[in-house]
């Protein structure tokens, strides 16, 4: 599969450009990093408990969706909103 999450309610705002592991990604203003990535990819960058990871609780509790922002360090993808120019990579330390 190419995308894991499906957008059910159209987003209506401004477009935002971010970089995911060096590849340009178009997101919507107000999207979380998790939604922006997983509506276009099937996994987050980096490894989780079973290899590929796609978050778990989706609400800031499980800590499985950490990604590394070049400018700001590690953040939870589910509680962090996209911003223009963000550069996103895998969380540098393997999760387990």
């Amino acid at each position: 599969m190419t995308a894991r999450f499906q957008r059910a309610i159209p987003a209506g705002g401004r477009r935002v450009s971010v970089w995911l592991e060096g590849v340009a990604l178009e997101a919507w203003e107000g999207e979380s990093l998790l939604a922006a990535i997983l509506t276009q990819r099937d996994c987050l960058p980096g490894d989780g408990p079973e290899g590929a990871r796609a978050g778990f609780c989706l609400m800031g509790a499980c800590q499985e969706c950490w990604v590394q922002l070049e400018q700001a360090g590690p953040v939870r993808a589910c509680t962090t909103k996209v911003a223009d120019g963000m550069r996103i990579g895998p969380y540098p330390i393997r999760l387990a």
């Binding site: 059910a8 778990f56 509790a61």
Partner: protein, 441 residues
């Protein structure tokens, strides 16, 4: 939110530290700002959510509202906070009301750590906050009233809901009926969700056994056994797995509250009276005090606010307080009924294969935990089990493995869940940058 409103309406200026960017907690979560997918709230809670949000907005000038502020430690009249993920600070207080909410309660099913497995609450949050579905074809399984609501919301927003598979036998729901009659309106609401799902052709099955989740043709396959003992398979894109809710009690523990075992919900909760008085200057309300749902959260917040006002010498609104307490009593009784109707899957736990991961964060499986507990000479509780196995030492700090760890300690040692104890909370209650804990802002 409700407590802040009552306090503000009676001359106080409460400071509200909200971890989220927008008010509403989980139940009344607003869509993510900027996404502009409309003032959309999930069906069934529109009116209540709108009313509370309006009330909160109306006292905005009398409340010191601090969004995106995580309280990560609390003690001696001080809350250590992290603002917007970067700025550390300390908030000093005379009185604190902790409304820390809950997470989903999980019991592992083999394959539960595969990507594409999430929780019904998470699936719902993704829809409310981001307008997205966790997958096109989703199965909702486990045991919880939330399974039915989330499945219905998904069906209404274009998802293909493959089934709702409930591990609790249907007979238990009848058994729970007397307690559920304490809040007939809520009971009818739940019945209506099930009827609406059936009208949409969604299969609802009870008394099932969840065998495993594996990679399959439709991205994931769920292998399960129906109440008649027949093995079945479902091809889906995503699995929403959940067994009710688990109170977040870390801040209450750090603030010095004593803990008591609640047999109905099988967890340790902060010891508090019906008004939420827990410790000197510490009050608790909402799902973080006791799982009860959105209405109980509001009512318990109001009662705590009245109790705080009482301590400050304000005249008590006795009829209002009596009414609120009576309603909360009923809602607590209803909740006990829900715990019966949607039970902890003891059979699932007993049958867990040894290679099933228990601790997602540290990748520790059931076999390792069982062997360690069996082999240990001496008294063992859930904290000792954590020290020996590393379960609960990972990033989520035991949020998702602690209930299972306690159940395994109880099973392997032949002790009760109460004797297995509760996982001692440690600060910070969520991971944060090292710089934040060193700074003092």
């Amino acid at each position: 939110m409700a407590a802040a409103c009552v306090l503000a309406q009676h001359g106080q200026r409460p400071v509200v530290l909200d971890e989220a960017e927008r008010p509403g907690g989980q139940a009344y979560r607003l869509p993510g700002a900027g996404l502009r997918h409309g003032a959309w709230t999930p069906s069934g809670q529109k009116a209540q959510a709108a009313r509370l949000h309006a009330m909160f907005a109306a006292v905005a000038d009398r409340i010191d509202h601090r969004p995106a502020t995580l309280a990560w430690h609390i003690h001696d009249g001080m809350a250590h906070v992290l603002r917007h993920g970067v700025r550390a600070g300390v908030e000093r207080f005379d009185t604190v009301l902790l409304a820390t909410g809950a997470t989903e309660r999980l019991y592992p099913v083999p394959g539960w750590t595969l990507p594409g497995v999430t929780t019904p609450g998470g699936a719902q949050t993704l829809l409310k906050d981001q307008g997205c579905l966790v997958g096109q074809r989703v199965v909702f399984c486990g045991s919880s009233p939330l399974l039915y609501l989330a499945a219905l919301q998904y069906a209404r927003h274009g998802a293909e809901v493959a089934a709702v598979l409930d591990t609790t036998p249907r007979a238990r729901r009848l058994h729970a009926l007397p307690a559920l009659m304490a809040a007939p309106g809520l009971l009818m609401r739940g019945v209506a969700w099930m009827a609406a799902l059936r009208r949409r052709g969604v299969p609802l099955r009870s008394g099932v056994e969840l065998r495993r989740i594996e990679a399959g043709e439709g991205a994931r396959r769920l292998v399960w056994v129906d109440a008649a003992g027949r093995e079945q398979q479902l091809s889906i894109d995503a699995v929403a797995l959940g067994f009710g809710l688990r109170s977040e009690t870390q801040l209450a523990q750090l603030a010095g509250c004593a803990m008591r075992f609640d047999a109905a919900s099988r967890q340790f909760l902060p010891q508090a009276d019906l008004d939420g008085r827990a410790s000197s200057g510490v009050f608790v309300a909402g799902d973080g005090a006791a799982i009860g749902g959105a209405e109980a959260a509001e009512i318990s917040g109001r009662l705590a606010a009245w109790a705080i006002l009482g301590e400050l010498g304000a005249p008590a609104a006795a009829p209002e307080i009596t009414r609120l307490r009576a309603r909360l009593h009923r809602l607590r009784r209803f909740q006990a009924g829900l715990q019966t109707a949607f039970a902890v899957p003891d059979a699932l736990l007993a049958a867990l294969p040894d290679d099933t991961p228990i601790c997602r964060c540290e990748r520790i499986d059931a076999g390792t935990v069982r062997q360690t507990i069996r082999g240990y000479v001496g008294a063992i509780d859930v904290n000792r089990a954590k020290a020996l196995t590393r379960c609960g030492m990972g990033r989520c700090q035991g949020r998702f493995c602690a209930p299972v760890l306690a159940a395994l300690v109880a099973a392997e040692r032949g002790v009760t869940l109460e004797q297995a104890g509760w996982l001692r909370a440690q600060a910070p209650v969520k991971p944060l940058p090292l710089a934040a804990s060193l700074a003092d802002g």
